[in-house]
């Protein structure tokens, strides 16, 4: 079953690469997304058996990440179909500069999307640290061509930065993995294998110094991929230049995947009694990320970049939550879900705005309610959600983390966290609410397309889910998240 989960998107990707028929490719993309989603859902009721001596297996955190990924991909996949149908296949005139460019062939685009899904699935299922590394590097490599969908110099620049920075970061994480191997081989009489489960089980015999070094290197390495400041520099470029549907996948799903790598290492650290050390590092990086994001958000002129910086901020929040430990981990996990759904929805809506207004500058977008009412509504809701406004789920998760911080007596962390959240809120609110109000420029009203069905339904569903999560969390899901907290010593 687990293998099927990886091979469905993989095979669909290969097929779509060789097929010459556009509608067949759309069909493959849709089917793979649906099948993947159904399989993932079925795992909630019928837990699959682990494979290859526990090398591949689905634990709680993996299941959470996998479900988010699969769900987002379902939405993004259908959105992509409508998006690709809209895209012209000949030369396109760029709206920012006076240049003509073409798109990456659709076959390659869809193939890479499916490969990305396969590699993210692979990552969520890997239990061996070596495999995790391989999978994270694979997600980088398969997503690079996606960022370069519009073949012009800006996206190329973004792709190059993304490739180079992330590859180097992940190479650093490889060094971290080797340190982990040293830590595992010097303690007891028999070396512990690099399976996550075994490392946690025999954590008390691991060499503490090397484990610390391993965590630092892995944190920096995967943190680069996750978009933690100060290693985040690729993120705004990549997210703003990629097609919106890809931005939503990168932001909503891929960042979580990198987080998974950190989470597993953190798990080993807490089991070895290094929870405080690792937690403080996570909190520090998290606060720096929030600070950097806040600084850049407050005067941001490009709404896609703004969303990208917001991803940096929210990854910081997740890291802080994990670092604080105990009850905050619950908030952190919940926030992972909330952020993924919200951010994916926002990026998809941003794609709709971009399609109508042909600009990424916030100042040039006005009167969305008059032009694209549904998207405008979703945009507003998404903005409120991303800034942690009740009654959305993000409010609950952010509040949980804050409360846990105060309960633990970490007043400085909590205070800084709160202040930064407020700053981001102000930045977002002033810029984005203005976009929806006012009257649109002449001409845009006439151009305004009828919103395609597929381009608003996925974000609408995601926003709805956040709302539901904000109003009420099902007890099974609550227990599920609690189980994850138990993995890192929370309660």
């Amino acid at each position: 079953m687990l293998l099927a989960l990886i091979f469905i998107p993989f095979l669909a990707g290969v097929l779509s690469l060789v097929s010459r028929n556009a509608s067949l490719r759309y069909f493959l993309l849709g089917t793979a997304a649906v099948l993947h989603f159904i399989l993932t859902c079925s795992f909630w009721f019928f837990p699959p058996a682990a494979l290859f001596n526990n090398w591949l297996g689905l634990d709680r955190i993996g299941q959470l990440i996998l479900s988010i990924t699969s769900g987002l991909f379902l939405g993004a996949g259908f959105y992509a179909i409508s998006y690709l149908k809209n895209e012209k296949h000949q030369q396109i005139k760029d709206f920012q500069e006076d240049i003509i460019f073409s798109n990456v062939p659709e076959a390659i685009f869809i193939c890479c999307m499916l490969f990305l899904l396969a590699s993210m699935t692979f990552l969520a299922l890997s239990q061996h640290f070596g495999l995790i590394w391989v999978a994270i590097e694979l997600t980088t490599l398969t997503s690079a061509p996606l960022i370069y969908f519009h073949r012009h110099h800006r996206s190329l620049e973004a792709t190059w930065k993304y490739l180079m920075i992330c590859s180097v970061g992940i190479a650093i994480a490889l060094l971290g993995n080797f340190f982990l191997a040293v830590a595992a081989s010097t303690g007891g009489e028999k070396p512990v294998s690099l399976l996550a489960g075994e490392l946690v089980k025999y954590a008390n015999v691991l060499n503490v110094k090397w484990l610390k070094a391993a965590f630092i290197f892995i944190l920096v390495g995967y943190g680069t991929k996750m978009g933690l400041a100060p290693m985040h520099t690729w993120l705004p470029d990549a997210h703003s230049e990629a097609p919106s549907v890809i931005s939503s996948l990168l932001s909503g799903a891929m960042l979580n995947c990198a987080f998974l790598g950190i989470f597993r290492t953190f798990q080993v650290c807490t089991a070895a009694g290094l929870g405080d050390f690792a937690g403080d590092l996570l909190i520090a990086l998290g606060l720096v990320s929030m600070l950097v994001a806040a600084v850049y958000i407050i005067r941001q002129a490009d709404y896609k970049r703004m969303l990208a910086y917001s991803s940096v901020e929210h990854m910081g929040i997740v890291a802080i939550g994990l670092g604080l430990g105990k009850a905050a981990v619950f908030g952190s996990m919940l926030h992972l879900v909330n952020h993924s759904l919200t951010k994916a929805a926002l990026f998809l809506v941003a794609g709709n705005i971009l399609a109508v207004y042909k600009t990424k500058r916030t100042n040039d977008v006005q009167g969305m309610f008059k032009v694209i009412p549904i998207s405008a509504f979703l945009w507003l809701a998404g903005i409120l959600s991303i800034t942690g406004f009740p009654p959305f789920g993000t409010f609950i998760s952010e509040f949980t983390i804050l409360k846990a911080g105060i309960e633990q007596g970490r007043f400085f962390v909590s205070g800084a966290y709160l202040v930064l959240l407020v700053i981001v809120f102000i930045g977002f609110a002033t810029i984005c609410i203005r976009m929806t109000q006012g009257s649109p420029e002449q001409g845009i009203e006439k151009v305004a397309l009828k919103q395609r069905f597929l381009s608003v339904v996925p974000p609408a569903i995601m926003i709805l889910l956040i709302l539901v999560l904000g109003l009420f969390i099902p007890s099974t899901f609550r227990n599920f998240l609690h189980d994850i907290c138990m993995l890192v010593g929370g309660n």
């Binding site: 980088t140 061509p145 370069y148 190329l156 190479a171 081989s185």
Partner: protein, 210 residues
């Protein structure tokens, strides 16, 4: 003895790469490093059949495939030399010397309970990784940065060779495969960069800000 000489050669070629502007020399150095790294696991004298197979694969990927891919990209680009780097070649060499001293000092102070086959392997691996990172930071050509990435990866790989607990063969192969795909994708990107910009200088990729 063999390992000692391999380490000396690695140090020297690293220094060469720091002090040369010729891209083809850099690529040859990569090939040379690849051979040494491929032989390294079996150079200790133990002939495990798995190890031998792996080292053959590693040599063919690191010493043949990568350099030929890079050379192909180079020939498409019609570029032969690195453009003025941020730090001059003489200065780079000096910094390289400092890095050698530093990496020996670091490896002397690492609480590594394993004794590697040769005490030079650890410092040279640190030095190699340093050279890779240094190239990525100080050179402007996209191609040199890819070379730097490969050297960095080689340095880390060397560290992995010392470990008593071998990564399972499957993982090592997957790591190799990843590096291969990375270089492949980067090569394609460089090709696109050169077509789009008529150069491959990354310092001029600066449209996207804040």
């Amino acid at each position: 003895m063999l390992i000692e000489f391999m380490m000396i050669f690695l140090t020297l070629v690293n220094l060469i790469i720091l002090s040369t502007s010729r891209l083809s020399t850099c690529i040859k150095v990569i090939a040379f490093q690849g051979i040494i790294l491929g032989v390294l696991p079996v150079a200790g004298g133990q002939f495990d059949i798995q190890l031998v197979i792996f080292s053959i694969i590693a040599i063919s990927v690191k010493a043949i495939l990568f350099p030929s891919m890079l050379l192909r990209t180079l020939s498409q680009l019609n570029i032969h030399r690195e453009k003025k780097p941020y730090v001059g070649y003489g200065m780079s060499l000096l910094i390289g010397l400092g890095a050698i001293v530093l990496s020996w000092w670091i490896s002397k102070n690492l609480p590594l309970t394993i004794t590697p086959a040769n005490s030079a392997v650890l410092p040279v691996s640190i030095f190699t990784a340093f050279v890779g990172l240094y190239l990525i930071i100080t050179r402007k050509m996209a191609l040199t940065q890819v070379i730097g990435y490969l050297i960095f990866e080689n340095g880390i790989y060397m560290f992995g060779v010392i470990l008593p607990q071998k990564q399972p063969l499957l993982v090592e192969l997957a790591v190799l495969l990843d590096a291969f795909v990375a270089v492949f994708v980067m090569g394609i990107t460089i090709f696109h960069i050169s077509r789009e910009f008529d150069h491959i200088e990354t310092d001029q990729l600066s449209t996207l800000r804040s």
